[in-house]
């Protein structure tokens, strides 16, 4: 187990280094500079700025510098937002994004599990069909469409919730709802499939034969066993939700990292783009690793590190 985790950690670091290198050379290959008003600058001014950011050095040297800083936890300096270090920028804006992502995932997973289970238990009834319709809608309607609609009807027309900005929990409700639709729908579908499978299995038959009350069978045996595969879906989905929140954050003017990412794209702020890319990738690989380890712990049928998992 320890050997397996160490091996995975090694690959994790390697993957991140490769991603960092690729993004570095991609960004360096771009035409144009991050300076605004470049035409108004004198050659001396430009040279001074290039000197400051190290742009006058050979590419490979810049690369080594960047990687060296990276290993020491320095993601560079943002070209906008008062030359703030990118790490500080992420630190300052991660709060709202994390909160939105977690709230949406918790709400979506819980409701998804409940709806999916009910649909499986009441298979081929109107409840099942209703859940199917809801999950198709949730999968199909993009979060940003939902965000704008919620903002208009529940915020602007009905005044139930704040329309925009970030002032406490009430501001997080509408964006959370917009973001929760996708995980809800998707988990409900997985849950239904899993639960239908499990309900048809022999051990459920046995539990029923033993005379367990039907709700006991469902909670104790069916639910637990159906939840195992859901874990693998939930982790990466949480990261996807966080990246997807960038447009929702823009719509609701929430100062999260997603909104920063959009801003940095529109202003060619390369260090921030690179830093946030790396940050999101870091989240992704860590979450996948945790999920894999958890999976092995929860389900003893899966043995880690024996070449079983490709």
């Amino acid at each position: 187990m320890t050997k397996y985790i160490l091996k995975r950690l090694f690959y994790l670091v390697l993957t991140l280094l490769i991603i960092a290198s690729i993004t570095f050379f991609m960004m360096k290959g771009l035409p144009g500079t991050p300076y605004t008003n470049q035409n108004k600058m004198s050659p001396t001014q430009l040279a001074a700025l290039n000197q400051k950011y190290g742009f006058n050095k050979p590419l490979f040297e810049q690369y080594l510098m960047y990687m060296n800083n990276l290993v020491h936890g320095d993601l560079g300096t943002s070209f906008q937002f008062n030359n703030e270090p990118v790490t500080q920028l992420i630190g300052d804006h991660i709060g709202p994004s994390m909160q939105l992502g977690l709230q949406a995932m918790i709400l979506g997973s819980l409701l998804g599990i409940v709806f999916g289970s009910i649909a499986a238990i009441k298979k081929n009834t109107w409840i099942d069909s209703l859940t199917t319709i809801v999950s198709i809608l949730g999968l199909s309607i993009p979060s940003f469409v939902l965000a704008v609609l919620l903002q208009y009807y529940l915020g602007y027309k009905l005044h139930w919730f704040p329309v925009a900005l970030w002032h406490g929990f009430s501001s997080s409700i509408l964006p959370t709802l917009a973001l929760a639709a996708f995980p809800l729908a998707s988990i409900a579908r997985y849950m239904r499939t899993e639960m239908v499978d499990v309900l048809n299995s022999d051990y459920i038959e046995l539990a029923k034969a033993k005379g367990d009350a039907s709700w006991q069978v469902i909670v104790k045996h069916a639910l637990r066993n159906s939840l195992i595969p859901i874990i693998t879906v939930v982790g990466p989905m949480a990261v996807t939700i966080m990246t997807g929140s960038m447009v929702v954050e823009s719509i609701f003017s929430i100062p999260g990292i997603g909104d920063q990412f959009v801003q940095s794209i529109l202003t060619n702020d390369y260090p921030t783009i690179m830093g946030l890319t790396l940050f999101y990738s870091f989240l992704m690989v860590v979450v996948i690793l945790i999920v894999d380890i958890l999976y092995g712990i929860i389900d003893p049928r899966i043995r880690l590190g024996k070449g079983g998992k490709a």
């Binding site: 290959g29 198709i136 993009p142 996807t240 719509i251 529109l266 999101y280």
Partner: protein
């Protein structure tokens, strides 16, 4: 025979002694796998409705522009932000009336629009005909999705087959590449590529396809691993067929269901990505319209002129819903046990 007992009174029927009357042929021609699939698909009402709805949307988007002479990019600032109007019919929401500051006015009279000119979906902030823009925008979104999905196929299927058939070392290498790409969230990969490539239609298609093929490659590889165990593959290997021939002759036909189903599910993903990118302002460059850019434009004035965002949003959602349902229907048709 029915002269003894009416047939509805018993499940059995009397048969005469004359054997020549008994139909000997009990079964029809056996059905092929694809005939079975087709039959199951046609019996799935939801899938059929989605199928025809999608065909209708695609037809309107592709044929419509030939019948609508209005240019989608012609600006007429005098006629900006006109509400939807259909002829001189007085249908609420389609009569050109607009509420400004609590008063309902006839926006068309106020803007001195010549009699007989009307905009079915209204006009946008530059006075461009939204009906024409939505027609062209839907078409563009569909083109992006279809081309990106075809690229997914062209890259993903060979990659998956090679990875599944090649030696373990090659397979490991190919899987590491996939692992690295999928370590970066899809949206971020697409955005990074769009920053690097020149803005335009081609870049968007490439960027979307760049993440899309991975799911396809993974599914195909898993399927190839399963198929490899079959006797017919072993037999053709023993007979000395090359891996190339085996994959074309034996594997590809057996992979077709996986490919078709996954292709169906790639289309809504591609449509979503395009809309997302255009919505945050790095997608299709102006003045071209796609459903995403139209929603982006519409969202700016959504509080006052909701129709500008409503219509593209509904069309986008409709396409997403029908393609998803169609994918579901195909999966059920190809693999009836999956439910």
């Amino acid at each position: 025979m029915s002269q003894y007992l009416p047939p509805e009174e018993t499940e059995f029927q009397y048969v005469s002694n004359d054997l020549s009357n008994i139909p000997q042929e009990v079964s029809g021609a056996s059905r092929t796998y694809f005939q079975d699939v087709k039959r199951r698909f046609v019996h799935n009402k939801v899938a059929m409705v989605s199928f025809f709805l999608l065909i209708l949307i695609v037809l309107i988007a592709f044929v419509g522009p030939f019948f609508v002479p209005t240019d989608p990019n012609t600006q007429n600032v005098l006629f900006a932000n006109l509400p939807p109007k259909l002829g001189n019919l007085n249908i609420p929401g389609l009569n050109g009336m607009q509420t400004v500051g609590g008063k309902t006015i006839n926006a068309y009279q106020a803007a001195h629009v010549p009699h007989g000119t009307y905009y079915l979906f209204g006009t946008d902030y530059l006075g461009r005909d939204l009906f024409a823009r939505i027609l062209y925008g839907t078409r563009l979104s569909i083109i992006v999705a279809i081309v990106a999905t075809l690229l997914d196929l062209l890259i993903g299927v060979p990659y998956g087959i090679i990875s599944g058939l090649a030696s373990e070392r090659v397979d490991t290498f190919l899987q590491r590449v996939i692992e690295i790409i999928s370590s970066v969230p899809d949206l971020i990969v697409v955005i990074l590529l769009l920053i690097v490539l020149k803005p335009g239609l081609t870049s968007i298609i490439i960027a979307i396809a760049f993440t899309g093929w991975i799911t396809m490659a993974r599914l195909i590889r898993a399927q190839v691993f399963k198929l490899k165990q079959n006797e017919y593959v072993l037999a053709s290997e023993t007979l000395g067929e090359s891996k190339w021939k085996i994959s074309i002759r034996h594997l590809l036909p057996n992979l077709s269901s996986t490919i078709i189903i996954q292709t169906m599910f790639s289309i809504p993903t591609a449509i979503f990505f395009e809309a997302f990118l255009s919505f945050i302002g790095i997608g299709i460059p102006a003045p071209s319209a796609s459903l995403g850019t139209l929603m982006n434009d519409g969202q700016k004035a959504f509080h006052f002129l909701p129709y500008q965002m409503w219509i593209p949003a509904i069309i986008l959602s409709l396409i997403m819903i029908t393609t998803n349902l169609l994918g579901d229907g195909m999966r059920d048709a190809f693999d009836p046990q999956s439910d």
